[in-house]
């Protein structure tokens, strides 16, 4: 098992390195001069040259890449071209929000999907099942940004129960939680639709197996059988999808943060691309890539924990 983990770890590091090369290369062939973007079209060439020199953009590409990697390894992602403050600070400032949003989105997605999926499986072929499947079909079809707008119109504009967007910071926990309700709902409703369907079919698959009939025959209640016997055995496909969805959730926050004008990493990425703040974009793309790669790594580890058979097979 340690061999398995070590191999995954090596793959993990290799992927990150490859990402760093690709990201850096892409950033450097992108058209657009950061100095011109910052100083605007009425600036003089002289002023732009002075800014480029200060940002180190007049150095050779290889040197800049090495500088960047050396810095990143020390946790120093350089100074943002456009904000003029350390990139690590910008990220630290916004990480808590994106993290809270992704976490609450994930928790609500999983809870909602498991409850709906298992319920549908238990009522297989009956109206409850059809209702849930119909709802989840709609959830898959509806884009998150559109659902967001509907939620805002109803809960913020019409009923005025919740703020239409923005994030006041964790200094005021109640206000912070209130401002996360709609974004979380918009993220989770769409994501849980897919997961609910997967849960349902995985559960149905398991319910056909002999040991479930045996469990029932032993006299366990149907609720007990579903949650203690069916669900654990249906977990492998569910966890696979959860892992994939985590990537979707992280990128989903980019859209959601823009619709709800939340000051998170997604919005920072958006702004930085528009500002040609290449050094910030690099750091953020690396961070997002690292998150996704880490999630996949954890899913692989999770398989081993969930399914004892894999433990032996993969040694």
């Amino acid at each position: 098992m340690s061999y398995f983990i070590a191999r995954r770890l090596a793959g993990f590091l290799l992927t990150l390195w490859a990402v760093s090369v690709v990201v850096f290369a892409v950033m450097n062939v992108l058209p657009g001069d950061p100095a011109l973007t910052i100083l605007g079209i009425d600036s003089t060439e002289e002023a732009r040259a002075a800014l480029r020199a200060r940002l180190g953009l007049d150095q050779p590409v290889i040197l800049r890449y090495l500088d960047w990697v050396a810095g990143a390894l020390r946790g120093d992602f350089g100074e943002s071209y456009s904000f003029g403050v350390p990139v690590s600070g910008l990220i630290a400032e916004r990480l808590p929000l994106t993290f809270s949003l992704a976490l609450s989105g994930m928790v609500v997605t999983v809870l909602l999907a498991l409850v709906l999926g298992i319920t549908a499986a238990a009522r297989h072929g009956r109206p409850g099942d059809w209702g849930i499947m119909l709802l989840s079909q709609m959830g898959i079809a509806i884009p998150a940004f559109w659902l967001s707008m509907l939620l805002v119109l109803l809960f913020a504009v019409k009923l005025r129960w919740l703020p239409p967007g923005g994030f006041p910071g964790w200094g005021d926990p109640v206000a912070a939680l209130r401002s996360l309700v709609l974004p979380t709902a918009a993220l989770a409703l769409v994501q849980s639709a897919v997961l609910a369907r997967v849960t349902r079919s995985a559960a149905l698959e398991v319910m056909r197996l002999d040991f479930v009939r045996t469990a029932r025959a032993t006299g366990f209640g149907s609720r007990h059988v579903l949650w203690r016997h069916v669900l654990p055995n249906a977990l492998v496909p569910i966890v696979t999808i959860v892992g994939l969805q985590f990537a979707g959730l992280v990128t989903g926050t980019i859209v959601i943060e823009n619709v709800f004008y939340l000051p998170g990493l997604g919005r920072l990425l958006f702004q930085s691309i528009a500002n040609r703040d290449l050094i910030t974009v690099q750091a953020l793309v690396m961070l997002f890539a690292a998150l996704v790669v880490t999630a996949n790594f954890l899913v692989d580890i999770a398989y081993v924990v969930i399914d004892p058979r894999l433990r032996e097979a993969r040694g």
């Binding site: 992108l30 058209p31 657009g32 001069d33 011109l36 973007t37 910052i38 100083l39 605007g40 079209i41 009425d42 600036s43 003089t44 002289e46 002023a47 002075a50 800014l51 200060r54 456009s82 904000f83 003029g84 403050v85 400032e93 916004r94 809870l111 909602l112 409850v115 298992i118 319920t119 707008m149 805002v152 119109l153 913020a156 504009v157 005025r160 919740l162 239409p164 967007g165 923005g166 994030f167 006041p168 910071g169 109640v174 206000a175 939680l177 209130r178 609720r223 949650w227 823009n258 619709v259 709800f260 004008y261 000051p263 919005r267 920072l268 702004q271 528009a274 500002n275 040609r276 703040d277």
Partner: protein
């Protein structure tokens, strides 16, 4: 199944709990919350051209020697008065006494010299360094008198030094301009939560502090028009001065809680043609394009009718405006005949459009209009960085659509072939030199009229419309600007109606 029912109730309960805490707080009457579409990345107007910096900081936190009002007139700010020598070369500024910065230090003539020298230095990153180019020297006469000597007379000097680019800063606090600027204005910088909001607080020591009604100005950054609209409707925002979506205005106009404004700006929207490149080096082709364009249809379609057409490169509200709208009446048949005459009928012309709603929408309509005149017109939507690189720097384009938002920018046509217009005519350059050095306003306006006529006559570009400044305000708000003659707007005059 009992379990799901319980968990369903639990979820609903958690939602209800989150909702129950605190209804939306009514906005206090001593603060205002203003929406901005663009968030600045730094707060230093002297090193970054982002318009939002001026909109927030200039003449609110930082002040300049002079200031323009809503009609573009120059008024005293940190300079209480000034005298100009007869040859128009020497400016003597008498500075205001007893002014202090927000950190308590005193403002004096050395700060003025420092600020100008800094902007004019060789390694200066000032985005409009050009406005300082006429300045020969800045001399401190005494603690509250400064003399500036110009190399040549500059008609726009007093107007230009009102800009944020010429903000007066102190050497002691210059290092924090980007993140927490310290100035002399009616508001001091309070806090900035990047990505969300920036707060300005009233400066109790301001010279006219008694007249400043609002204690707090909160700027909220909302880029998505639908989100901005929801924020206004829900009462989260009190004002949105540069509202980005004209199509969403009718719902605000129908709602008595709001006032909708349409003011003028200095932004001329043009269909720029690459004058250096065939076929646009041929004046007849450019004239044919001008005939092919239907401004009314563009304004209706792209701006929902909310814009003023222009026939040349000068704002319709300016004192020297000439109406040249009928020089090239919209006529696809005339255009087609002229394209045929010039041998370009049926050829391909590509409009490379930057990612601004006015430009993208206008692009599609102009494409249809050129097609109707027998041109194989194509639209290529490009991203802003690409536009700056390919079109602005490398002049690699046929046509593009762009708003020129600087005041007094007819001088663009005197920037030579290396400017992205690809246009140069020594006669026009001479004319512009006379305009920019003419001290007498009447003579200058005459020359400006000649300039407009020249540009229209030669159909350098397709002149489309003046970019409007659309605003949505709480109907009880007072003291804001409808028009936008400059990039800044002092908020000290804002108040709530009783």
């Amino acid at each position: 199944m009992a379990f799901t029912r319980i968990s369903g109730t639990g979820l609903a309960g958690a939602f209800a709990l989150a909702i129950a805490f605190g209804a939306t707080a009514a906005s206090a009457e001593t603060s205002v919350s203003i929406g901005f579409q663009q968030e600045p990345t730094t707060l230093d107007p002297t090193s970054d051209a982002t318009a939002a910096i001026d909109g927030i900081i200039t003449h609110n936190v930082l002040e300049s020697l002079t200031v323009a009002n809503e009609s573009g007139e120059v008024l005293p700010a940190l300079a209480e008065s000034w005298t100009i020598s007869d040859d128009g070369l020497t400016y003597r500024f008498n500075l205001r006494q007893g002014v202090t910065y927000h950190d308590g230090t005193a403002f004096d003539a050395e700060d003025v010299k420092f600020s100008f020298d800094r902007a004019m230095a060789d390694d200066s990153e000032n985005p409009t360094k050009g406005i300082f180019s006429p300045v020969e020297s800045v001399t401190v006469i005494d603690s509250h008198t400064v003399e500036m000597v110009l190399k040549n007379p500059d008609a726009f000097f007093l107007f230009n030094i009102a800009r944020g680019d010429a903000s007066i800063v102190a050497p002691e606090s210059v290092d924090q301009l980007k993140t927490a600027p310290i100035g002399t204005g009616a508001y001091r910088f309070d806090s900035w939560t990047r990505g969300d909001r920036l707060t300005l607080a009233k400066n109790p020591d301001y010279r006219d502090a008694a007249d400043v009604a609002l204690d707090k100005v909160v700027i909220r950054f909302i880029s998505d028009p639908a989100a901005a609209s929801a924020a206004l409707l829900s009462g989260e925002l009190d004002a949105f001065p540069g509202f980005p979506a004209p199509e969403m205005l009718p719902q605000f106009e129908a709602d008595p809680r709001f006032t909708v404004t349409m003011g003028s700006t200095e932004g001329e929207v043009i269909l720029a043609m690459n004058n250096a490149k065939p076929p646009f080096d041929n004046v007849e082709v450019r004239r044919a394009v001008s005939h092919a364009i239907d401004r009314a249809a563009i304004i209706d379609g792209a701006m929902y009718g909310r814009a003023t057409p222009i026939g040349s490169f000068y704002p319709p509200h300016g004192p020297a405006y000439v109406d040249l709208l009928d020089t090239y009446p919209h006529d696809p048949d005339t255009a087609r005949a002229m394209f045929e005459e010039a041998g370009v009928a049926g050829s391909t012309m590509t409009i490379r459009v930057p990612p601004f709603p006015y430009a993208m929408r206008s692009g599609e309509i102009i494409q249809a209009q050129l097609t109707a005149a027998g041109i194989d017109a194509k639209v290529e939507n490009v991203e802003w960085g690409f536009w700056l690189d390919e079109i602005y720097k490398k002049q690699n384009y046929d046509m593009t659509i762009i708003a020129h938002t600087s005041p007094n920018d007819m001088g663009n046509f005197a920037r030579g072939k290396s400017y992205f217009y690809g246009f140069e005519d020594p006669d026009f350059t001479d004319l512009w030199n006379r305009i920019s050095t003419e001290a007498d306003p009447d003579t200058r306006n005459d020359l400006l009229r000649q300039g407009q006529e020249y540009l229209t006559e030669n159909a350098i570009h397709g002149f489309l419309f003046q970019l409007p400044r659309l605003g949505v305000y709480d109907a009880r708000l007072r003291g804001y600007w409808t028009a936008s003659p400059v990039l800044y707007e002092p908020r000290a005059s804002m108040s709530w109606a009783e």
